[in-house]
Amino acid sequence: MMRNTTARQDASPVVRVAGLRKSFGSHEVLRDIDFEVMPGEVVTVIGASGSGKSTLLRCINLLETPDAGHIWFHGQDLAAEHVDVNRLRENIGMCFQAFNLFNNMDVLGNCTLAPVTLRKASKAEAERMALEHLGEVGLADFVHAMPSTLSGGQKQRVAIARALCMNPDLMLFDEPTSALDPEIVGEVLEVMRRLAADGMTMVVVTHEMSFAKNVSDRVVFMDQGVIVEEGAPQKMFSSPTQPRTREFLARYLKD
């Protein structure tokens, strides 16, 4: 499953974050974050709830506006005034904990809305592409189902297919399996594993340690708004250097 990422080291990063700060009111959520994602890399962000993982993710596609610092996406500074956020987000797919499928459309409508509206794809072309991606996530038979009739795992897989329909350069996953019961988690992780194997650049905020350990190229551990430690999964899980990391992982790996 591990891929050789050293060959890509000389390429420029997809995302580079420097000195990122964000607070909600007086509560500082992100404090001076530096962070990089290389093309084809799968980065998992782990950490306790409230450590700022999700906020970091949401800053990358500007769902949250950073207070200070810089984010470069393919070299474009997102902190600059009047960045075209809509154009930016077309190239960054995102999956949410609560799936957020559009309830007023069927599965096909969910997948074709953005390509037809933004890419000016013909309806037939968009539907062909949607069917292809729905096939990849194993839901080709559900094209005309409404979201309310799907199980959680199916919803999240549709959400992944919906994001893929825009051919993004980067996929952000915000705790994609946290709202699912343990039996269904596997089907979503399997889709994500295949996506990673196909070379998609991914940032995954998750509590699934097995995914972090076995699928990702790099694990980032966050605590109280700072990146405490990052490194290859083997090293992170076998011999973490920081005591806070050890403490967190010990609690998780116990069960």
């Binding site: 500007l62 559009f102 839901l139 189902a145 199980s151 919906r162």
Partner: protein, 405 residues
């Protein structure tokens, strides 16, 4: 018994089943109906009664009803004697298969007879009353006669009033709906990162305008709004040198009423829509924005359709409110139902009769409106093609798209 009602959970379904299938209905329900028929048969014949023509026919029908009540009584006694367990069903002569069928057919006949009496006494009675009243030269003294007399003699005014009320309410509600959509969109605007300063300013001004508009309109009575709008319009036109009769062509009380109801209802509908849209999960917008859709595209394609669906019950209520509240616009002299009724009352100097008639018409209009809108609103509940919930990847049912369910 209990397992039957469990299989038919809705009240309507169990009622239908009681009437069409249940043996108990045949005697219980139909004998109650027959008693009503007997009561009707004992009322005097109206002038246009067709049953009055043949005493023999009417007597036969009457005694058939009486006989049915008697048979029902016997069946009741029979049931009481065999109350325990399944005794009645198993051994009563009323429960033999052929008897069951005969009783059911007989119950249909009873229905028909009662219907015949109802038409003869009530419908023909009404028609006779109206034709009698219309032929009078002075206002009759009895209540319904007088009502019929006044409405018959001034029916064009009354009908005009009903029509104007319906038009003002319908047009006002429809126009208000679209205005409210536009205003609620303004109201919900938030400055976006990609906006330039001019767009930001527009958004802030737009949201402020919508807020103030809603406060002002909802905080003042519609009658005053109507008076201001009407007299402002006539004032402006008079200032441009138009004569009173010319003004009436362009800016009649009717047009002013349409404008008033539209503008007034806009404010209320805007709040209703805002609540409906507020109830749409914020994640829906976030998902749309994360795909690259603009605020406007996310609103139009994802949030508004769901928000409007949420708001449909309260929006329909606005039509009902407009039907009733358009009555205050008699203040500007538009000939809607209340003004028409007051005119008729003024002509004959008799109030109760026509106002009761107006109340009945208002009630019919509002009931019809909410019934129709209820039917219309239910169409939005169709959840597309249902797939049986399951974690399996094989859909349990997969009807073709667009198939009615």
């Amino acid at each position: 018994m209990s397992h039957e009602s469990a299989a038919h959970p809705t009240r309507r379904a169990s009622m239908t089943r009681f009437v069409t299938r249940d043996h108990r209905y045949v005697f219980l329900g139909t004998s109650a109906l027959a008693l009503c028929g007997l009561w009707l048969a004992n009322t005097p014949h109206p002038g246009m009664s067709f049953l009055a023509a043949s005493y023999v026919v009417e007597s036969i029908l009457y005694y058939l009803l009486l006989a049915w009540v008697a048979v029902s009584l016997v069946a009741l006694v029979n049931k009481l004697l065999r109350w325990r367990g399944d005794a009645y069903r198993a051994s009563s002569p009323f429960c033999r298969p052929r008897a069951l069928r005969a009783e059911r057919y007989a119950s249909y006949v009873i229905w028909l007879i009662v219907l015949l009496f109802a038409v003869d006494r009530v419908v023909m009675g009404g028609i006779s009353l109206v034709s009698w009243a219309a032929a009078q030269t002075t206002n009759p003294t009895d209540f319904f006669g007088s009502m019929a007399y006044m409405l018959c003699n001034m029916w064009p005014t009354f009908v005009q009033g009903v029509a104007n009320t319906v038009i003002i309410a319908l047009v006002g509600t429809v126009v208000a709906f679209f205005l409210a959509l536009a205003l609620v969109f303004l109201r919900l605007q938030l400055p976006d990162r990609s906006d330039n300063d001019f767009v930001r300013l527009l958004k802030i001004v737009g949201a402020g305008f919508a807020k103030v508009y809603s406060q002002v309109v909802r905080g003042t009575p519609m009658m005053i709004q109507g008076l201001i709008i009407y007299y402002a319009g006539t004032g402006v036109l008079a200032g441009r040198g138009l004569s009173a009769s010319q003004i009436l062509v362009v800016w009649s009380p009717f047009v002013a009423a349409l404008v008033t109801v539209s503008l007034n209802s806009t404010a209320y509908m805007m709040e209703v829509l805002r609540a409906g849209i507020g109830a749409v999960d914020a994640g829906q917008t976030e998902a749309a924005r994360s795909l690259g859709l603009s605020q406007w595209q996310a609103m139009r394609r994802v949030v508004f359709p769901q928000g409007i669906k949420n708001a449909i019950p309260a929006l329909s209520n606005e039509l009902v409110i407009n039907i009733k509240d358009s009555s205050v616009l008699m203040a500007i002299g538009v000939l809607e139902l209340t003004f028409a009724t007051r005119t008729i009352a003024g002509v004959y100097y008799k109030q109760m009769e026509v106002y009761v008639a107006a109340a009945v018409v208002y009630l019919i209009l509002t009931l019809a409106a909410s019934w129709l809108l209820g039917k219309f609103g239910r169409r939005f509940d169709v959840q597309g093609n249902q797939v049986v919930l399951g974690t399996s990847d094989t859909p349990a049912a997969m009807p073709a798209k667009g198939e009615a369910r």
